[in-house]
């Protein structure tokens, strides 16, 4: 299983990678910007993407739109500090499969990831 982790913070990217470490994941890519994420996703069509929203350059919701354009079935889990319901609802309407708020709770993250890959 291929995982793409998108966040402008390297500390967050590494924490997500550690939290999701398992035998199921065979390949992990990381991107610090929305632009890099779209490029990487287009090349590899990762099975799961974790995606931040507030990033320099292309924001996460625009990046989500572009990933969904490439693959309408993409499994994208938003992980963002933005804790308002309107943003979460908007992300789900645009095609995200789930929404988690920072700070990241490792067990919630694992649970959300497991639900995503069960689908």
């Amino acid at each position: 299983m291929k995982l793409l982790i998108v966040d402008d913070s390297s500390v967050v990217r590494r924490a997500i990678e550690r939290d999701l470490e398992s035998g199921e994941i065979t390949e992990v890519d990381q991107a610090a910007t929305g632009e890099d994420a779209v490029r990487l996703y287009g090349a590899k069509l990762h099975d799961v993407v974790t995606l931040d929203i507030t990033m320099p350059g292309m924001d996460g919701l625009t990046c989500l739109d572009k990933i969904i354009e490439i693959n309408p079935e993409a499994r994208v889990l938003i992980i963002s500090a933005l804790r308002d319901k309107a943003t979460a609802i908007d992300a789900i309407k645009r095609g995200a499969s789930g929404f988690l708020c920072k700070p990241i709770n490792p067990s919630e993250l694992k649970e959300a990831f497991d639900l995503l890959i069960e689908d």
């Binding site: 913070s9 500390v11 507030t54 933005l82 804790r83 308002d84």
Partner: protein
């Protein structure tokens, strides 16, 4: 800004530090207003706020606290780049979490990080500087909330 608004940031601070380790309690001292200079420490993550409210939210801490947090996150080796990344991410998390109360019109920028206690950011003059002192593992940090 009122007491309820400040409470939103206090809840966010508790949530952040408890996410690191629940049994290590964070102490939040009574917030105060500082009209003159701002108490910036070694590392400061600054989030510009726009939309209905304008100003900035800053998380400022010394290197020791940030290094301790990075150890809790199992980061090794620790270097200045990681510390800057972390202080910006904490500021981002505490600001973004405040949208729970302020809603989607509370627009947050990506973090800008300053080091050495010097911060070059144009704070709106009409803002009052609310300072929330934070103590975690004997180290002190501040969240500065400067909003119209």
């Amino acid at each position: 800004m009122n007491d309820q608004d400040i409470q939103v940031f206090i809840s966010g601070i508790r949530r952040y530090f408890e996410s690191l380790r629940k049994d290590l309690k964070v102490v939040i001292e009574p917030p105060f207003i500082k009209e003159d200079e701002k108490p910036f420490l070694e590392y400061t993550g600054i989030i510009g706020i726009s939309g209905k409210t304008r100003g900035a939210v800053c998380f400022t801490a010394n290197g020791v606290m940030l290094e301790n947090i990075l150890r809790f996150l199992n980061e090794a080796p620790i270097n200045g780049e990681l510390i800057c990344d972390l202080v910006g991410e904490i500021a981002n998390t505490l600001s973004g979490n405040a949208r729970e109360e302020f809603g989607r019109d509370f627009l947050i920028s990506v973090p800008v990080v300053s080091t050495g206690g010097e911060v070059r950011f144009r704070f709106p003059k009409e803002c009052r500087n609310y300072v929330i002192p934070i103590i975690w593992q004997t180290e002190k940090a501040y969240l500065l909330v400067c909003l119209t």
